[in-house]
Every structure is written in structure tokens, then in C-alpha cells.
Symmetry: C2
Subunit: 137 residues, 2 copies
Amino acid sequence: MKPTHIEHIGVAVKSIDEARKFYEEVLGLTCYSVEEIAEQKVKTAFFMVGQTKIELLEATSLESPVAKFIENKGQGIHHIAFAVTGLENWLTTTEGKGVQLIDKTPRCGAEGLDIAFLHPKSTGGVLIELCEDKNKK
Amino acid sequence: MKPTHIEHIGVAVKSIDEARKFYEEVLGLTCYSVEEIAEQKVKTAFFMVGQTKIELLEATSLESPVAKFIENKGQGIHHIAFAVTGLENWLTTTEGKGVQLIDKTPRCGAEGLDIAFLHPKSTGGVLIELCEDKNKK
């Protein structure tokens, strides 16, 4: 049981309109989707690079975790998302190994994926997301 | 001209011996290489996930950039490395677009790759590495 690939890398930015210029004009990537996720109080923009997406995250509220992240650490890399199969089983097994879960059961994330976050306290300071594409089940 | 994939994600850790447990025992990944890079004052450990490597970085000196990163921000995600073809040309073009380079010419990084870093001031706070596998030239 191991992740198949890095599904995406989340990057906290103050403004997607500003930040996307680097990914488009310097790296030559194409933004294929901009989506607001009301539940998480963020707007997202996605770019594909090989198997992996870059997900720019802009807070839509001062209470957004992304706004708090930027306040504490500044703009930058926010989380790594690993693609897995059988997310519920992953969460049970992971918790059984003593890892603190932020989400004890999967919830709906960007692009309709099932997602769950692990607490950075249990992962050496890295906010890690596990995610599963329901359409591939 | 765009990167082919995410070559690796660098993660700053206090101790590789401690941090690798999460990647091995929880994520089920295999550490296939541990390497010391004297020039950068770091020890590295690599894990493969799909196309992408997780590179754990442990400082071997208090003057290491990784030691300074941890002192300022704590353990966590340090940089994203994009795989490119024609690194020298990338650097010329990227600088021509107004991006501040940390390395104006390629240097030798872990695993014998040619690497160069872009300054986070020009990338929305993300330390970005461009790298090229010389063996694939």
C-alpha cells in the first residue's frame, strides 16, 4: 500500500491573478481550471506538469486556513497531496500507526476528489493530503 | 518550452533518521538512496512516488541553507524542482523575463543532475529549482 503519484502540490498565494503569471509566462504552463471551494474558503487555479498539478490557493476570507498560513509563514508551498487508492482504508491504517488525522473521514475537495489531511505534527512539519479520484474507482 | 514533470520535492528535516520513518512506515515508500552533498552542506534521502522524488534534506552544518530554513520556518517543504530540457537556455530566458536567479549558471546537484535555483522573490514565495538529467542529453 503506497501512493501512486504526487496528485498535486498546493501553493498559498495572496492573489491568483498575480501569481499565475509566473507559472504561465515563465514556466510556460497552462491554467486549465479556476474553481472556488466555498467550504474551504479558497479559490484555486490548476496547472498540469507531467502527472502532477500545481494548485494555487487564494483565501476568499480572512478565516481561511490559507489566509492564516500566509499571515504566519508568508506565501509559499502549502501542502503535498499523494494519490491513493482506498482512502478510507488509508485513514484507518494511518491513524492506527499513531498519525494524527485532520480529517478522520474523507471529504470532497477540489476537482471532485475525495480528500483528507494528515496533521503536520505527525509528518515532520509537512501538511500532507491523501486523495482519491472517485471517477477512477 | 515547459517543464516535463516535477523532478522532486525537497523537504527540510532535522533528522533524516527520524523523518524517514513516516515515508517508509506510513506511506510505504522505499528509500533508494542516501547521499551527502558537501558543497550544499546537506545530507539527502530519496523516495520515488510515480514520476517524482521526495528529497529529505538534513543540514550537515549550522551554515547550511537548510539549517537556516528550519531556524526561520521550522521543518517542512523547502522547494519544488521542475525537470527541464536545455537548462542553460532556460536560465537565460528566465532571467530575460525579469526573474531573479540564485544560480546564473547550472551547477551539480544531488544524483548528478544539473541544477539551478530561482529566487523566491520572483516566484511568489516558492523556492524553485530547475534541473536537467545530463545522462538523458
